[in-house]
Symmetry: C2
Subunit: 483 residues, 2 copies
C-alpha cells in the first residue's frame, strides 16, 4: 500500500525551476575535487581549490575587523563586563559600545526574540547612520533587520508576486538570488540589459522598450531591481543614471528594489556611492512619490562578515496597510538573529575620530579596501591581456565579469559535452588550475556572448600565481580550440 511519499516529479515545480549558479554545478564539482585532494594528495595538477565563485572574503583569509568582534564577544557574554581583566583584553570603546547596546536591549537579553523588525535601539543607530550617510533623515520604523539581504529580497518577492503574470524587472546580467527568488515565488523575470560596451551602463530608453514589451504580453511589472555597485558587473552607477531610474520608477508606478550591499566597496576615485533614497530626496521626491526598498548586508563592505547573516532593508513610500502586511510576514519568522542585528548597527555606526579604537579600525579598514582595489586592478589587467578576453573596470563590488570570445571549436566541444560554452570553459579551468569561477550563463548575458564571474577576493600574495595559472590555462585552451 505504501506510496512513495515524495519524488522529484511530485515536488513544487517552482522549486525545480529555480537555479542558483553561485553554488551550482561548477562549485559542486570543486567540492568533489577538494575531497579528492584530501584523500589522494598529488592526484590533481594543483594543491588547493581557490574559490573565486562567491563573495565570501573571510573564507579566503580576510580577517574580521577587531572592534566589531570585540563588541560581539562582550554582548554574547555580558558577565565579562563585570570583570577587571576585561579592561586589558578589550578596547575601551568596545566596552562602552557593548554596554550601551546591552542597555538598549530590553532586559539586556541578547538571547531573546526581539521586536519583529529588530531591536529598536539598534534600528535607531542604523537610522542615524543612514542619515549621516545621505544627509536626509531616516526613521527607525522604516528599518527591518534581516538575516542577511536574501530574506529581505524573498519577503519583497513574496509580497509583490501574485502569479506568473506579475513581473519583476531585473538587470541582465543579474545576481541569481533575484532569478531564484522570482522563480520560487512563481513570477516573471522581465530583463533589461546592461550595456557592456559603455561599462555596464543602463539605458532608460531600453527600460521603456522592455516595459512596453512586457505589458503587451499581459505582464504586470511590479518592481525594478537595481544592483549598485553592480553584481556581477562591478560598475558604480553615475548620479544622472540613478536620477533617470528614479524618475522612471515614479512615472511607471514601480517599486524600486535597490540592492546596495556593496555601498562600501568602491575602488575608483571618480565614482562615489549614492543611495537611491538620497538621489530621490535630492530630486524632491518624497514618500508619496516613490516606493523604495534599500537592502544592506554585513556580508559585504570591508567587513565581509558573511557568516553572521546580518542585514536590513529600509522601506519608504509604502502605505500603512501595506506596511502592516510586511510586518506580519516578518513576524511569522519572529526576528533575525541578534548577533547579526548588533553587527548591522556597528557597520552603520563604526568607530569615529577620537574613539580609542579609531586608529586601528581605520588601518584595518583602509588596508582591506586598498588591497581589494589593487587586486581588482591586477586581475582586470591580466584578463585584458589575454587573447579574446575583454574586461570592464571593477569600479566597485567584489567581482570582475570578463567576456570571453570562445572559438567555434570550443563551442562545439561544449555542445558535445552537453554544457553551456561558458560552463565548459569554467569546468576546464577548475580541472586544470583549481580556480573556481561562475559561468556567465548563471547570471544571464546577451545571447551569444560568454562570460565568467571571478571574485577579487583571494589574498593579495596569491594573485600573481592565480594570474599565471589562469594565463597558462587560457593559452592552452585557445591553442587547443582556436579556429
Amino acid at each position: 500500500m505504501a506510496a512513495p511519499a515524495v519524488a522529484v516529479d511530485n515536488l513544487n515545480p517552482k522549486v525545480l525551476k529555480c537555479e542558483y549558479a553561485v553554488r551550482g554545478e561548477v562549485v559542486m564539482h570543486a567540492q568533489r575535487l577538494q575531497q579528492q585532494l584530501q584523500t589522494q594528495p598529488g592526484s590533481l595538477p594543483f594543491d588547493e581549490i581557490l574559490y573565486c565563485n562567491i563573495g565570501n572574503p573571510q573564507s579566503l583569509g580576510q580577517q574580521p575587523i577587531t572592534f566589531f568582534r570585540e563588541v560581539l564577544a562582550l554582548c554574547d557574554h555580558p558577565c565579562l563586563l563585570e570583570r577587571e581583566e576585561t579592561k586589558s583584553l578589550f578596547s575601551a570603546d568596545a566596552i562602552s559600545r557593548a554596554t550601551n547596546i546591552l542597555a538598549s536591549i530590553p532586559g539586556r537579553a541578547t538571547g531573546a526574540y526581539s521586536h519583529s523588525q529588530g531591536i529598536k535601539g539598534l534600528r535607531d543607530a542604523i537610522a542615524a547612520g543612514i542619515t549621516a550617510r545621505d544627509g536626509f533623515p531616516a526613521n527607525a520604523d522604516d528599518i527591518f533587520l534581516t538575516d542577511g539581504a536574501s530574506p529581505g529580497v524573498h519577503m519583497m518577492m513574496q509580497l509583490l508576486i501574485r502569479n506568473e503574470k506579475d513581473g519583476i524587472f531585473c538587470p541582465i546580467p543579474q545576481y541569481p538570488l533575484y532569478s531564484a527568488s522570482i522563480a520560487l515565488h512563481g513570477g516573471a523575470l522581465v530583463p533589461y540589459y546592461l550595456d557592456e560596451s559603455t561599462g555596464w551602463g543602463l539605458e532608460v530608453s531600453d527600460l521603456k522598450k522592455q516595459l512596453e514589451d512586457a505589458r503587451s504580453k499581459g505582464i504586470d511589472v511590479r518592481a525594478l531591481v537595481v544592483i549598485n555597485p553592480g553584481n556581477p558587473t562591478g560598475q558604480v552607477l553615475a548620479e544622472e543614471n540613478q536620477r533617470d531610474i528614479v524618475k522612471f520608477c515614479k512615472n511607471e508606478g514601480l517599486v524600486l528594489l535597490a540592492d546596495e550591499v556593496y555601498q562600501e566597496n568602491i575602488y575608483v576615485d571618480n565614482k562615489k556611492f549614492n543611495s537611491f533614497k538620497k538621489i530621490a530626496r535630492s530630486m524632491g521626491y518624497n514618500e508619496e512619490d516613490l516606493t523604495l526598498v534599500s537592502f544592506q548586508s554585513v556580508s559585504k563592505g570591508y567587513y565581509g562578515e558573511c557568516g553572521k547573516r546580518g542585514g536590513y532593508m529600509e522601506i519608504t513610500g509604502f502605505s500603512a496597510p501595506v506596511r502592516e502586511q510586511i510586518y506580519k510576514v516578518a513576524s511569522v519568522n519572529l526576528c533575525s538573529n541578534i548577533t547579526g542585528q548588533i553587527l548591522a548597527s556597528l557597520v552603520m555606526n563604526a568607530p569615529k575620530v577620537g574613539d580609542a579604537s579609531y586608529a586601528s579600525y581605520k588601518a584595518e579598514k583602509d588596508g582591506i579596501l586598498q588591497s581589494l582595489a589593487r587586486r581588482a586592478k591586477a586581475l582586470e589587467d591580466a584578463f585584458n591581456n589575454l587573447e579574446g578576453i575583454t574586461c570592464n573596470k571593477a569600479e566597485g563590488a567584489m567581482y570582475l565579469f570578463p567576456q570571453i570570445r570562445l572559438p567555434r571549436k570550443a563551442i562545439e566541444a561544449a555542445k558535445a559535452a552537453k554544457k553551456a560554452p561558458d560552463a565548459f570553459y569554467a569546468l576546464r579551468l577548475l580541472e586544470t588550475t583549481g580556480i573556481v569561477v561562475v559561468p556567465g550563463s548563471g547570471f544571464g548575458q546577451v545571447p551569444g556572448t560568454w562570460h565568467i564571474r571571478c571574485t577579487i577576493l583571494p589574498q593579495e600574495e596569491k594573485i600573481p600565481a592565480i594570474i599565471s595559472h589562469f594565463k597558462a590555462f587560457h593559452e592552452s585552451f585557445m591553442a587547443k580550440y582556436r579556429d
Copy 2:
C-alpha cells in the same frame, strides 16, 4: 501618470490570508500599552506588561547557560584564545571546546558563509548527539542547519506544496507557524483534532477519517505535522501513540514532519521524550519505509536562546534527487548564521561528567527545568480553581492551554465588539492586568470552545502575583457577564 505602485488590494493574496496570532492583535495592543506606561506612568491599572504570549524565556529574565555563552564569545573573538587573561575569565572546557570548534571550521573563519547545510564539523557533533539520544545512528549529511526551526518548516512547505489541492495534516490546536506557512505557500491545511478530554491525545481513527474526507474533496495530502511535546497544548505523546502515527504515515505515504523543539522540556516523571526517528527505527522501519523530518531549535529547551536563531532539521527517507532539490533551496540563502550553528552543536553536545563546567552547567540546567515544572504546576492548579476553567496537565513544552467556558452574555458582548470571544477575553485581561496571552482562536480549537494559551515563563517570584491578578480579573469578568 504615476500609478500607486503597491496597495493592499494588489498584494499577493496568500500574504493577506496568512495570520500569526502569537504576534497578533493582542500583542500589538500590549505594545501600545507598554509605550503608554512609559510616557504616562500610573495611567493604567498595572505597572508592567507581562508577556505570556510567546515562548521567549530570556525576555522574562531567564539567564543564558554560562558555558554556551563562553564558547560563543571565544568563537566570536578568537584572539582571546591567545591571551593569558582568558584562562582566568573562561572555564577550561569552554576554551578547549572553542578551540576544537574553530579547528573544525575551514580557515577558523566564523565570519565566512559555510557549506549550505552548515559547517561539517558541527553537523558531525549534532549527529553524534542524536545518536547518543536515540541509540540509532544519525548522519551529518542528513542535517541541515537553519536560523531556528521556522526556516526549515518553510523550506519543507515550499518543497511539498504545488497548489491549493496539496494538503498538510496539522493538529488542531496547532502552532500558527504551520497555518501561516501553509497559507503563504498556497496549500490546504487539513485538520486533525487533539482530544482535550484525554489530555490532548491523538486518535489514529480520526486521522483516517480526516484523510478520507480530504481525499474525497480532491486534496492530495502530502505530509503530517506532529508537535511533540505539544504546542500550545503541552502534552507528551505516549510511545504507543507515536508508533501508530509512524505506521499511519508509512501506510499512507505521508511525509512525517516532527516538530521536536521541546524535546528537553518534560515536567512529569511518567513521560519521556522519544524522537519519531527512534520510534520508527525501533519498529524496524528504515529510510525506505518512512520519509521523516525532525525539527530542533536552540530557542527552546532549558537554554531558551531564541535570539540566536539556531536550529536544524534532520531529513531521512528522501531520495537523492529530492535531497538535491532541498540542498538547492538551502543554497539560495547561502547558509544559516554561524553563531546559531555553533550553539546548535553545543545544545546537542553539552558538558559531560568530568568536564570542568559540568557541575555549574548541571546546576543551571536543573534549576531552570525544575523551576519551570513548579511554575507549570502552580499555574495549572490556579486555572483549575477558577469558575468555568479547566486545564490539562502541562507535561512538557512551555504552555498551558486552559479551556474557558464563557457565559452567553460575554459571547454577545464580544460579538458586539466584533471580536472572537476568546480574543475579547484576552483583551480585557490585558487591559485589566497587563498580562498578555494568545486567544485560542489563533491556534484553532473545536468550534464553540474557547481557550487561551499562556506560557509558564514569567520568573518564579512573579507567579503568585500573576495568579492573584488573573483570579481577580476572572472573577470580576464572570461577575459582569455571568448568565
